[in-house]
Subunit: 164 residues, 2 copies
Amino acid sequence: MIKVERLLINYKTLEEFTNFRDYGAAELSMKDDLNQSIVENDSESPFYGIYYGKKLVARMSLYQIDGDFDQYFDPPQDYLELWKLEVLEPYRGKGYGRALVDFAKEFEIPVKTNARQSTGDFWSKLGFEPITYREERDRGESPYVWFPSGVYEQKKPKEKQSQE
Amino acid sequence: MIKVERLLINYKTLEEFTNFRDYGAAELSMKDDLNQSIVENDSESPFYGIYYGKKLVARMSLYQIDGDFDQYFDPPQDYLELWKLEVLEPYRGKGYGRALVDFAKEFEIPVKTNARQSTGDFWSKLGFEPITYREERDRGESPYVWFPSGVYEQKKPKEKQSQE
């Protein structure tokens, strides 16, 4: 039984994060916030993960995007952006990646991710589909999405709204 | 003398692209458009590259973002999003990466990129700076920017605009 947990922001979690290849501004920002007491120790993070014993061996980040900004789904609605999905090398092939993605799907709203090179097969096996690439929206990403029942790809770009 | 060229969309260019690690939806979409005659052979692409003899050995993509959507710079203005910067392995350390980035800076508008893990030093050497991470804007990216003179980091998030 694989258990997915919401990760807490504390020095132990942030130390575990350094084991992951995709470590960058998001993690450093959390560390800064903790150092400067902008967030409390053990407050909730946008990360979810799987522990093997006491070691964090897989993680992902989930962020709910407001339906007002939805450019992917029809009808437009709140959806989850999933990123930084990563399983540490020695722990791959044990279903941890799948467990994390299944966890995201349980929210029963659409999920969008950016498939890195050569991970398309992984996403397809989990029920995700590549959608039509649009330069002005996707800017080099490879968007893969998961549709709950009754949700489709947003075909026509919304009219560009002036922000004046 | 290193020459940076705007790349043309044709089957030769698209074949060259398969040598790069970061090959994905953007490239496949260009191929589809060419196959379906949605774009003409030899039309301009968002890619710029460097040839060594007849071989494409380095490339990047540039896309101009409308100032109405600028969340990075003060004053808000048109800027360049730079991505898919990549030099083929045997051609690294010869200044090709720098030549591409210098080319982008010559437009004299701000440049924004997403620095992959452990490329921060490269960007810093080229005059880029990491900017404050904002979860709702950056979603896991590590934004690095280059400021032309008189341009600063946009400090306050713009008020969220309703798109109703």
